[in-house]
């Protein structure tokens, strides 16, 4: 009998002992904007997959707080005087989580896979004629003509990052997901502890050799600050806010705007701007394939329905978190300009209708894909639909969940046959600040994004921007590009806003702001 009692007591004690060991670990609990469901940051452009990817994979370069590329895995590099040959040498001490060294074979295979899948990577690879290893640590990249965005592309922090994988993983078909998430970054993915839809766990990579420069956004030293990072998924914003106030979580990536006043007053909680650039740009996309928006005059008429303040007050509320921006390139970014902004000078529904009629609109229903379950896109769509109805436009607002919107918007058929005329979406502020990284500003016809704007001049200017040698030249081209893109109405901007990070200032330190992709690796616990 005594033995049984003793055995029972031990059985009960073991879990407590295990819990105690776990309690001694420094654990960062962070709630992000979505849950980690995909482990391959190249296979998808989902931001959350890239936040996951940035923890476990390293990149050759990292863009700093000023969006300037800084070496990360690369120790030294040279650019030939004709700007056609780049020679990269990896720094010492780079090892994958399985202990194998990072070699140029791994790097070249990874860049090829990324370049086959990612939009920016595809553009870069369009200029690359060959990539060859010199030895295990040095390789060359040869271009057919000078391209000014090589390092920026390799160091970008928005989807998809140019993650360096093991060669055997990187040889996976780009249209298929890698099976193992083994990188050389500051944290290792604990796949056995992953509960999709609930929790993803990352363990400190004790073998990681960080750079010596100070951290700045996606660049600089990546010093793992805690033993374990748990990306906890809490889908209910109210619960997440309460959990942060109660100290159950340390970091809340995107608190709902309604809760910001409460969080500002909560003891121990701090709010921090995500970076120098606002986190989000609002966009209304018109379908250029079908009437009435196959006519540029009809597209331009829509500018008269956009009062950005209406959208921003509805979505964000507090003016200190939003900014009216009548341009396509993020205001506050390096290429902000006023090219084409005069097209958005007034809100005038009557004039919008009159211009639409002049463009041949006869009152046919205009199909708007109306998402019902999105925190910002849903209210923005409602504001747009209201403005269209006020103008007397025949609106067919079709309500559906966001999952259905992303499916439907890929259809090129006419609206009456399952297609669409308008949908509302958002884009990351950092990506939208650069004409090459901002894929929505493109007008590549069938090869472009949904809505399929088609204008060779826009594409020519985007290419010219990429090939520009100086910053002055880039700024000049950026203005010409924005002017042309606004005339063509590649999309209608409805303003930009920032969703600050909320975290327990009394429990964690070294939070590094980085717009677009949360940087978690350097956070330490007090």
């Amino acid at each position: 009998m005594f033995r049984r009692i003793l055995a029972g007591a031990l059985a009960l004690a073991v879990p407590f002992a295990a819990a105690d060991v776990q309690a001694q670990e420094k654990v960062l609990k962070a709630v992000m904007h979505a849950d980690v469901r995909v482990i391959d940051p190249v296979w998808t452009t989902q931001t959350i997959a890239n936040i996951h990817g940035a923890l476990i994979y390293d990149t050759l370069f990292g863009n700093d707080g000023n969006q300037k590329p800084q070496p990360q895995m690369v120790g030294k590099y040279e650019i030939s005087p004709d700007r056609l040959t780049y020679t990269f040498t990896l720094r010492d001490g780079l090892k994958f989580h399985d202990g194998s060294p990072v070699t140029t074979k791994d790097v070249i295979a990874s860049l090829k896979r990324w370049g086959a899948k990612d939009g920016v990577g595809q553009r870069l690879m369009g200029f690359v004629t060959k990539m060859e290893p010199v030895d295990d640590k040095t390789f060359t990249m040869v271009l057919r003509e000078p391209y000014g965005m090589v390092l920026e592309s390799l160091g970008k922090s928005q989807s998809s990052i140019a993650a360096i994988m093991r060669e055997k993983d990187a040889l996976t078909d780009p249209q298929q997901q890698v099976k193992e998430a083994v990188g050389s970054g500051p944290y290792m993915f604990a796949k056995d502890q992953w509960v999709p839809g609930s929790k993803a766990v990352y363990l400190k990579n004790k073998d990681y050799v960080p750079r010596t420069e100070a951290p700045s956004s996606f660049a600089g030293a990546k010093i793992p600050g805690v033993d374990r990072i748990e990306l906890v998924w809490i889908s209910d914003p109210q619960t997440t806010m309460s959990a942060l106030i109660n100290g159950e979580i340390d970091f809340y990536e995107q608190p709902t705007n309604d809760f910001l006043p409460l969080l500002e007053k909560a003891r121990g909680v701090k709010l921090m701007k995500t970076g120098k650039i606002d986190s989000t740009q609002g966009m209304i996309r018109l379908n250029h394939l079908h009437p009435p928006f196959d006519n540029v005059k009809a597209r331009q008429a829509m500018y008269y329905l956009i009062n950005q303040e209406d959208f921003l007050r509805t979505i964000v509320g507090d003016p200190k978190f939003y900014r009216v921006c009548k341009g396509l390139l993020t205001c506050g970014g390096p290429y902000e300009n006023d090219g084409g902004s005069e097209l958005m000078k007034e809100y005038n529904p009557k004039k919008a209708l009159q211009l639409l009629k002049e463009a041949g609109y006869k009152g046919e229903p205009i199909t708007v894909l109306s998402a019902t379950d999105h925190a910002t896109i849903t209210p923005a769509t409602q504001v747009l639909v209201q403005a269209m109805r006020e103008a007397g436009i025949n609106v067919d607002a079709q309500s559906m969940d966001w999952g259905s919107v992303v499916t439907r918007r890929a259809k090129k058929e006419p609206p009456a046959q399952g297609g669409w005329n308008i949908f509302v979406t958002t884009s990351g502020g950092v990506g939208s600040s650069n004409p090459v990284l901002h894929t929505w500003i493109g007008a590549a016809c069938d090869k472009g994004l949904f809505g399929w704007p088609c204008d060779p001049e826009v594409e020519k200017l985007r290419n010219a921007f990429g090939m520009a040698a100086t910053e002055e030249e880039r700024k000049k081209i950026a203005k010409e590009l924005q002017t042309r893109a606004m005339e063509q109405v590649v999309f209608l901007p409805f303003g930009q806003w920032d969703t600050p990070i909320a975290f327990r200032g009394d429990k964690i330190d070294n939070v590094v702001p980085n717009t677009g992709l949360a940087v978690l690796w350097g956070i330490t616990k007090k």
């Binding site: 009960l12 879990p15 407590f16 295990a18 819990a19 776990q22 849950d35 469901r37 995909v38 482990i39 296979w43 998808t44 452009t45 989902q46 997959a49 899948k117 939009g119 989807s159 078909d173 249209q175 298929q176 997901q177 099976k179 992953w194 509960v195 999709p196 839809g197 609930s198 929790k199 906890v232 809490i234 889908s235 209910d236 109210q238 619960t239 997440t240 309460s242 959990a243 106030i245 109660n246 159950e248 379950d373 559906m400 969940d401 999952g403 259905s404 992303v406 499916t407 439907r408 890929a410 090129k412 979406t425 884009s427 894929t439 929505w440 090869k447 472009g448 994004l449 949904f450």
Partner: protein
């Protein structure tokens, strides 16, 4: 009895087949495309089409169905389109929280409801009865999420007695496990308590009017013996039925409670999979839910024979 159980188990096979057929084709006919969701916001139509081909979603629907059924017959529910993990693993991960929440909720509900129902019936049409039923109506009428937020505000945020959210598996220790279940099971249990209490009262009222209860009272038996041994046992069949239905509902449908308290259970897995159009996961879950409901119904039917000796199979 054994032959009855065997017959019932065999009868589940056509039920499961019909469920499989319906869930497969309903999902495919519903709008939405997992390839578009996977590819992400910045993907081109070309890229989405390529993902669709690699996932086999471009193949004829019948062919996809045959492949899935073939896998099922070998005990393989497939893998999640998104996470590449086996559906069985995803379901197994969520089973413990769901079972724990179901049992703790039933514990709260039954522990409160049966005594309230019995007392209300015993003191029928008196103040105690009216108060008990008012409490039951209030519990039934109040949305679970409202009660959940109220409980969180007071017990977690204000008084810091219990955690706001999360589930602690029992391997992390008994108290953290219990602590993580108290608020969700109370929030959810109050609704079920109301339902069970009303059924208990109605069933008890019917039994208390029977001649044998009058006889038991006349021969001087103590009230508690009359109520618990003579009346409650005979009133148990409808109560057990409601409890059984409750179990079936709790296993598959407590999404709101799981969401508010961040319990990683099967309900949330279902909703997430539906929103993401993760077909293999939804299909696997619906089959599991159908199987669970069939099993619960079978257990309820068997329990009748033990509660009421007049029932024989």
């Amino acid at each position: 009895m054994t032959s009855y159980i065997v017959r019932r188990l065999f009868a589940t096979l056509p039920v499961m087949a019909v469920v499989a057929l319906f869930v497969f084709f309903l999902l495919r006919f519903a709008p939405g495309d997992p390839a578009a969701i996977i590819a992400g916001d910045d993907a081109t139509a070309e890229s989405i089409a390529a993902v669709r081909v690699k996932l086999g979603l471009d193949r004829p629907m019948v062919e996809q169905f045959v492949v899935w059924v073939g896998q099922l017959l070998q005990g393989d529910m497939g893998v999640s389109i998104f996470s590449n993990l086996a559906v069985t693993r995803l379901i197994a991960q969520r089973l413990e929280p769901t079972v724990a929440l179901t049992l703790s909720t039933l514990f709260v509900a039954v522990a409160l409801a049966v005594p309230i129902g019995v007392v209300a019936a015993w003191k029928a049409r008196k103040l105690v009865d009216r108060l008990a039923m008012a409490f039951a109506v209030l519990g039934f009428a109040m949305p679970t999420f409202v009660l959940a937020y109220i409980l969180i505000y007071f017990f977690a945020v204000q008084w810091q007695l219990l955690p706001v959210q999360g589930y602690a598996p029992i391997k992390q220790g008994f108290w953290p496990f219990v602590e993580s279940l108290i608020l969700p099971s109370v929030a959810l249990g109050i609704t079920y308590m109301a339902l069970i209490a009303r059924i208990t009262r109605a069933s008890m009222l019917e039994v208390l009017a029977q001649d044998y209860i009058r006889t038991a009272n006349s021969k001087g038996l103590a009230t508690d013996r009359v109520l618990l041994l003579h009346a409650l046992k005979n009133a148990a069949v409808p109560i057990v039925t409601v409890i059984g239905i409750g179990i079936a509902l709790l296993i598959s449908g407590v999404v709101i409670t799981e969401t508010v308290f961040n319990i990683p259970g099967l309900g949330r897995l279902t909703v997430d999979a539906v929103l993401k159009r993760d077909y293999p996961v939804v299909q696997g879950l619906i089959l599991v839910f159908a199987g669970a409901k069939v099993l619960v119904n079978l257990i309820i039917d068997i329990s009748y024979a033990f509660l009421d000796p007049r029932i024989r199979y």
